[in-house]
Subunit: 357 residues, 2 copies
């Protein structure tokens, strides 16, 4: 592992996006989004994704200097055309609209088409929660989830996120793919030469496999819940629900029409869809924040099955990671990540990322 | 199994609720809700629940002839006090408000406190879908779900439902508990003397158990996803999200404060919370219904791992059950259910339910 000052990581990612062709502001917003994932302990969505975004710009599929625009709106809703900008640009644009609408009606519901990967869903839900609201974010993604009983994938990992503020500085933070696990987890098992637990992934015959190599090459993840016997059809239903809110509502690409996952930047614009929701809990019963904090405290204090593994409240892992990052002022990257960043710096003629001594 | 004409089942359930003290209209609405569950092939939420509602009325916890009232509202939101009426009464009341608000703003979001069990969540989401909207319904329930790592339960089975209309008569219908399985499934395995699949339930030590008897007595279901290794924390997060929308928002009882599940009708009012949401997809991209129907057709036509088990779209099982019910004009009940209905008829001095010859 190599340590990098958070300010330096932000500088490097911003410079790379600028070198690829983005203006300073969209480059900075996208880099902030990536850095936050590294800060919260979700490295798959951090610096790890930088090259993917750079390639999308260089390939012409992403046009980072366009302006998203509202196509249609009502007091509580808006339909947005992202115009192929970076995910962070349009997600700020769309969630700002949802937050503005909340002030007038109590709810804001915004769908987006013609967008690109917008990083960690929780970043967008938290944007609304930071304004004292319940925030939600959804996005569709490239097909990787096999509907229950199917040999092939037909939906993405389609994440959903809900974030809300509680009393005493608490934050309820849920950000989850609707597949059983992310592809990155299978990749890690494969690198280590370990077998997979049951319920993670299918082989090409549509049957559960414990072979990490086979699972990685097949690219068919089980929905949350695993096989049919353990209610995998619920995870399939949730992924479909996310698609209903994103591509089916916004008119972007959806489900089986979304291009395959690729780091190459080829294949044109990805035209994926998002959905952003904000709700003002002050419109309901007083005491929301107290009740939320009461639950979070109660859950943490539950008697654990294993003394060494305390019960967590949703968001505790992210909170701990953020505290570690903030205390040290640094983020850590695996060796391979640092190497590929150096190569990217050279390719883009950008000052390489400086490691802490 | 015994067959009963749907009209006779509706008559019987209405009569029982009236005999317990409900006026004709609320009794009829609640009976319709129960019959629909039997019609869609979810008998756990049908006639099976009748005695529970009757006991709640007789015990005084449910006051079926009260009137729900709006406590606070904004253009897109309403906060409702159910005044302890039957679940169907307030759920019609609240979803009607959500549907009305959609017309003005594009979204309606209504939370309810001081309510009772409101049957199948899908019934309420479908009420909005029948008006050409995306409908959603959520409710909290008595604690039965063990948060990941915990020995004890602290959240309910907290179902969520999303229903939406597609082209060609399609209906996307998702109605799912956020636990891995419902208690009823464990009860069935126990009766048959079968072992449980992994990922369903915990024993009193907080570890996974395959012993149906032990699981039934412990009453700690795994969240959707099962153990931590297979991402059970996501199902826990989803159950917590439902609680955020229901009890935490509405100020009803919530999470660990909800009374235990009981059929006795003792223990006062249950004061549970619901949430109803309606969204007008016409406010976004044209073609919503076509895209939805395209997905549902695509999913059904996916190559199955097992030729005998075709891939289903969310709602296909319910649609098939409804067609069978409608074609025959009858619903079928297990022997035990028919016996307990006879006993209930005698207890309430109601004409017993007549079986088809």
């Amino acid at each position: 592992m190599g340590k990098v000052a958070t300010t330096e990581a932000l500088r490097f990612m911003t410079d790379c996006l600028k070198a690829a062709g983005a203006r300073a502001y969209p480059a900075h917003q996208q880099a902030e989004l990536l850095l936050e994932a590294d800060r919260l302990g979700h490295p798959s969505h951090g610096l790890n994704r930088l090259e993917y975004y750079v390639n999308d710009i260089l390939g012409g599929g992403c046009q980072p200097n366009n302006q998203p625009k509202i196509l249609k709106q009502s007091p509580s809703t808006a339909w947005v055309d992202a115009q192929n900008v970076l995910g962070a640009t349009v997600s700020h644009f769309a969630m700002d609209i949802a937050i503005e609408k909340v002030k007038q009606t109590g709810v804001g519901w915004v769908t987006v088409k013609a967008s690109n990967h917008n990083g960690m869903a929780g970043f967008w839900a938290k944007k609304a929660a930071d304004q004292g609201l319940i925030g939600m974010a959804f996005t569709n993604t490239s097909p990787l989830l096999a509907p229950t009983r199917s040999k092939k994938s037909a939906l993405g990992t389609n994440p959903l996120s809900v974030v809300a503020p509680g009393a005493d500085g608490e934050t309820f933070y849920l950000d989850m793919a609707t597949t059983a696990v992310a592809v990155g987890k299978i990749e890690m098992k494969r690198r280590k030469g370990e077998t997979l637990p049951n319920g993670w992934a299918q082989g090409p015959d549509g049957k559960e496999t414990q072979d990490a190599e086979l699972a990685f090459n097949t690219g068919c993840l089980f929905p949350l819940g695993g096989r049919e016997e353990t209610s995998g059809y619920k995870g399939y239903g949730l992924a479909a629900m996310v698609e209903l809110f994103c591509g089916i509502s916004s008119g972007s690409n959806y489900g089986h029409h979304i291009r395959s996952w690729s780091h190459s930047g080829e294949g044109g614009s990805s035209n994926i869809g998002h959905c952003f929701v904000a709700v003002n809990f002050e419109n309901f019963a007083p005491g929301f924040k107290d009740r939320l904090a009461d639950c979070m405290t109660h859950w943490r204090n539950l008697d654990p099955a294993d003394e060494k593994l305390p019960v967590l409240a949703p968001g505790d892992k992210e909170k701990e990671a953020a505290q570690l990052t903030d205390a040290s002022g640094t983020v850590s990257y695996v060796e391979q990540q640092i190497k590929s960043s150096s190569a990217l710096a050279e390719r883009l003629k950008v000052t390489p990322m400086e490691l802490c001594r």
